[in-house]
C-alpha cells in the first residue's frame, strides 16, 4: 500500500492540480480495467498515460491511431523465415503491459474492433494461433471530444469495454503557472522512478478484488442499476456488466482509502466515471454525466 501512495504522490508531482483524476486512473489500474481519457489535445493525456506506466513499472507502447492504420500494424504479423522454413509471429505494439492508443476515434472501425476484442479477451488470434497478451495488460485510450472532423466515434457496445472514462480538463491557473515555470514535463517523465516492483501490481489487483462488499452495498448498487433502467433519464439502462464494473471500481477505490470493505461513498465516487460513457441521456440539454449525477442524487442509500 505504501508503494501505491508513493506512486500517487509521484503522479501528482508530474501532473499538477489533478489529484482526483490521478486517483481515478490508479483505481482503474487496480481494478484491472481499461481507461478512456476524453479531452482536447495538449492537456496531459499522454503524460498521464506515460507517467502511470512509469510509476507502476510497466512496459509501455504508444500507437498513434490514424485512419489508414491496419489491424496488423497493431496486433502484429506472421513473417516467413526462409532460413528456418517456418512462419514466425512478429508481435505488434499490443503486446505490451500498457498500450497507449492515442486518438482511438481516428482509426477505422476495423482497427477499433480488433483492439477492443483484444482488450476483452486479453489474447490475440492470428492465422489460427492464439497469443496471450502479457499480464497485467492495460489499454489507455485517448479520444478527442465528439464533433471533430475525420473521426469514427466508438459505438456504445464497445465503449463499455472501458472501465472508466475520465477527462482531465484544463489545469487551474495556479497549476498552469507552476507548469509554465517548471518547463517540459517530458524530462520529469524520464526521471520518474518506478514505485512498484514487478508482480506487485498483480498482487494489489488481487487484494482489491477481495475487498468485501456487504449485501446492503449490493442492494445499493442494484438500486442504482434499477433506477437507471426506469427510462426517465436514459435511453437504455445500465447493463449487468456495468454493475460489476461499478463494484470492481468501488473496491479498488476503497482499497486506496485503506479500507477492507466498500462503503456507499466509494460507489458514489466512481459511479459517474464508470457509468457516464455507457449511458445516453434522454433529457435534451443534459449530458450523460449530469444525468448520472442526478441519478446518484435521487437514489436513497436505504
Amino acid at each position: 500500500m505504501q508503494s501505491i501512495s508513493f506512486a500517487y504522490r509521484q503522479l501528482n508531482a508530474l501532473i499538477l492540480g489533478k489529484p482526483l483524476q490521478i486517483r481515478l486512473a490508479l483505481t482503474c489500474m487496480l481494478a484491472g480495467g481499461h481507461l478512456l481519457i476524453e479531452d482536447v489535445p495538449g492537456v496531459g493525456k499522454t503524460t498521464l498515460a506515460h507517467g502511470l506506466a512509469g510509476v507502476l513499472g510497466l512496459d509501455y507502447r504508444r500507437v498513434q491511431f490514424t485512419s489508414d492504420l491496419l489491424p496488423a500494424d497493431m496486433l502484429g504479423v506472421s513473417l516467413f523465415r526462409p532460413d528456418e522454413g517456418r512462419f514466425e509471429f512478429q508481435p505488434g505494439p499490443v503486446f505490451s503491459q500498457l498500450l497507449l492508443a492515442d486518438e482511438i476515434n481516428r482509426a477505422s472501425p476495423k482497427v477499433q474492433s480488433a483492439l477492443l476484442e483484444a482488450m476483452e479477451e486479453r489474447q490475440v488470434s492470428i492465422d489460427g494461433q492464439t497469443h496471450a497478451l502479457p499480464k497485467p495488460f492495460f489499454v489507455i485510450a485517448t479520444q478527442n471530444p465528439d464533433g471533430q472532423l475525420g473521426t469514427f466515434p466508438l459505438p456504445e457496445s464497445q465503449l463499455d469495454r472501458f472501465l472508466m472514462r475520465i477527462s482531465l480538463g484544463y489545469p487551474s491557473p495556479e497549476s498552469e503557472r507552476a507548469l509554465l515555470l517548471a518547463g517540459d514535463r517530458r524530462q520529469a517523465l524520464s526521471a520518474l522512478p518506478a514505485a512498484l516492483q514487478a508482480g506487485e501490481l498483480l498482487a494489489l489487483q488481487q487484494k482489491a478484488a477481495k475487498v468485501s462488499a456487504s449485501s446492503a452495498l449490493a442492494d445499493y448498487v442494484l438500486a442504482l442499476l434499477l433506477a437507471s433502467r426506469k427510462r426517465e433519464l436514459f435511453v437504455h439502462g445500465l447493463s449487468p456488466r456495468a454493475g460489476l464494473a461499478i463494484l470492481a471500481a468501488a473496491r479498488a477505490w476503497a482499497m486506496l482509502d485503506g479500507r477492507d470493505h466498500v462503503l456507499p461513498e466509494d460507489v458514489k465516487a466512481v459511479f459517474v466515471v464508470v457509468c457516464a460513457h455507457r449511458l445516453q441521456s434522454r433529457l435534451p440539454g443534459m449530458s450523460s454525466i449530469d444525468a448520472a449525477q442526478r441519478l446518484l442524487d435521487h437514489v436513497p442509500l436505504a
Binding site: S212, L263, L301
Partner: protein, 655 residues
Amino acid sequence: MRSEPRLAHFAVLAALALTVLPLFLQLPPWVPLLFALQLGGRAWLAWQGRQLPHRVWLLLAMIVPVLLLWLSLRTLVGREGGVALLLLLTGFKAFETVTLRDWRVLLGLGFFLAATPLLFDQSLPSALWLLLSLFVLTWAMVLLAGGDSAASPRAAAQALLYAMPLMLLLFVAMPRLPGPLWSMPTTDQRATSGLSDSMAPGSIGQMIPSQEPAFTAQFRGRQPAREQLYWRVMVFDRFDGARWTAGSVPDSAAALASGAAGELSYSITATPFKGALPVLEHAVWAGEGVQQGTAQLVRRIDARNEARLRYDMRSVAQAAYPATLSAEQRAHYLQLPAANLRTRQQGEFFARQFRDETGRLAALSAWLQQQGLRYTLSPPLLQGDVVDDFLFSSRQGFCEHFASAFATLARAAGLPARIVVGFQGGEFNAGGQFWLVRSSDAHAWTEVWLQGRWQRVDPTALVAPSRIVSEVGELVPEAQAVLPVLGRRPPQWWHTVHAQWQRAGFVWQQWVVDYDARRQQSLFQRLGLGRVGVGSVMTILLLGGVLLVLPLLLWLLWRRPPVRSYPVRGWQLLVSRLQEAGVAAQASDTPAQLRDKATVLAAVQQQQLTRLLADWQQWRYAEGATDSDPRWRGWWWQVRRFRPPRLAAKKRTGR
C-alpha cells in the same frame, strides 16, 4: 418517484379550500373568502420559498378579522360564530405550519372542518360533498406521507374503502341521544316553508313561487286523493282589518277527533315552523315526538327545537268532535274590526236573508263565485279597506285574498270563521312512493263553524277549482320550473332526473338523517338484540373494534421481517428528523455528507448523529455485516429518540 414535499403542501391547502366551499352559502361571504386568501397566501409563500411571518405579526393580524367577526355576528360561539372563528384560526394556523408534523396537524383540522357544513345542512348534496372532501383530504394525506404521486389517488380511494365498513358500523351502532346532540344557537330564524306567522294579503304585490321542498309525506296502505290533501300548519283567528294573526283563545275542541271511515296512516318529515308541523285534517292519532294541540294542529313536543323531524300520524276524512263553541269563543270567532263596511253590509244582508246557517253558507259561496274574481299570483296592491278593495274593485288575488275575504264575509254573516294556513296538494313521486310538498304549495283556506263542527270552506276552490286539483305550476305559467340555462320549458328527461334526485333525497332523509335513537332501538330489536343500553353498545363497539383491528395488527407484524428493516427504516427516519430540524439532508446522501450538512446543529446533536452514522455504516457495510444484526433494534430506538430542535430561520440551510 416519491412525491415532492412541496406538492403535498399544496395538496393540503387545496384540500382545505375545497372542503369548506359549502360554507360560502352559510357564513358571511367574507369569512370563507378570507380563509381562501389565507390559504392562497400560504401557498404563495411556499411557492416562492419565503419565510413565514413571525408569530407576533400573526397574533396582531388576527385581531382585525376576529373583531370583524364579532361585529358582523355579535358572537364567537354557536353555529355560525364557532365555525367562522374555527375557519379563521385554521387560516392563521397555516402560517405557522413548517414541519411535517405541523402539516399533519393542519390536515387533521381539515378533517374536522369537513364536518362543519353538516351543522348547517344535512341534505344529500352536503353528504356527497363531504365524501368528496374526505377523498381529497385523504389524497393529501397520502402525498404528505411521501406516497408515489401517480399512485396516490388510488391509494387514497383504497384507504377510504377500507374505512367504509367501520364507518357503517359506527353509524349503525353508535349510541344516539334522544333529541339533538347539541342545540346550537343560530343567529337567524329563517322561515323556510313559505309560511309566516301572520297574513296580510293586501300588502303582497307579487308572490314568487318557491320550488324549495317544504316537507315530504309517505302514506302506508291507502293513498289519498290530491283534493283531500289539506295540510294544516297554523290557524289565524284575529283580524284587524288588514292582517290576520293567531289569537290566544283556547279551543275546547283540542281533543283528537274520532272516526274510522277512510283512515289514512302516514309519516311526515318536516322542519317545524315555530314548533308547528303540517298535519292532514282530522288527525285521530299522533305518534312519538309530536302532540295534538288546539284547532287540530300538531306541534313538536320540544317546541324550541327547530331540527327536522319525522313523525307518524293517522287522519280520517270525516270525524266527529265532542265539542261545542262556548259563547266567549263564538264571540271571538265573530270578531271583526270596524272596517270593510261594504263587505260587512253584504254579510249582514245574507244574515237577514237566510235564517238557516247551511243555506246562508251556500248563498255566500254562490255569491262569491258570481263576483268574477280572478286567481293570480301578481295581484294589484290593495288600499284602504283591503277586503272591500279586493271584493268590489280589483277582484284579483290568490288564496290569501280569497280566504281573508270569505272569512270576513262569513263573520259578518254571523258564522264563526277562521283561517287555516298550510299547504295544499303536493307532487307524488311514483318511484319513491312519497309526496313532496313545496313552498309553492302553501295555501290558506277558511273554516266555518256549522252544525257543531268546523267545516272546511276553500274559497279558492270555489273561484278557481283547478288550483286545487292541479298544481300551481300548471295553472300559472310563472311558477313553472324553468331550466336556468335554457330558459324554456324543461324536457321530459329533466322531469325524470329531477324526480329521481328527489327520491334519492327522500331516501337519504329517511334512512340516514332520521336515523335516531328510536329507529336505532327498533333496528336492534328487529335484529334480535332486544333493548340495548348505551353501555352495552359501547362495550360491543370497543370489543368489535379490537377484534377488527387485532388481525390487522397481527398481519402487519407478521408481514414485517423482525429486525431486517430497522436499518432501512431507521435511515429514512434519521434523514427526516434532520430535515425537520432544517438540515438539507437527503436519503441519497452518504453518512459523510450528512455529517457535513449537520454541522449547523448543536454540538451535542452532532455527536449523537456522528455515533449513529458510524454505527450504521459499520454494521451495514463492514465485512460480515447483515441487516439481521440484533444490535439494529437498539440503534432504531436511538434514532427514534434523536430529535434535533428546529434551527432558527437564519441558520437554516434549506427548506
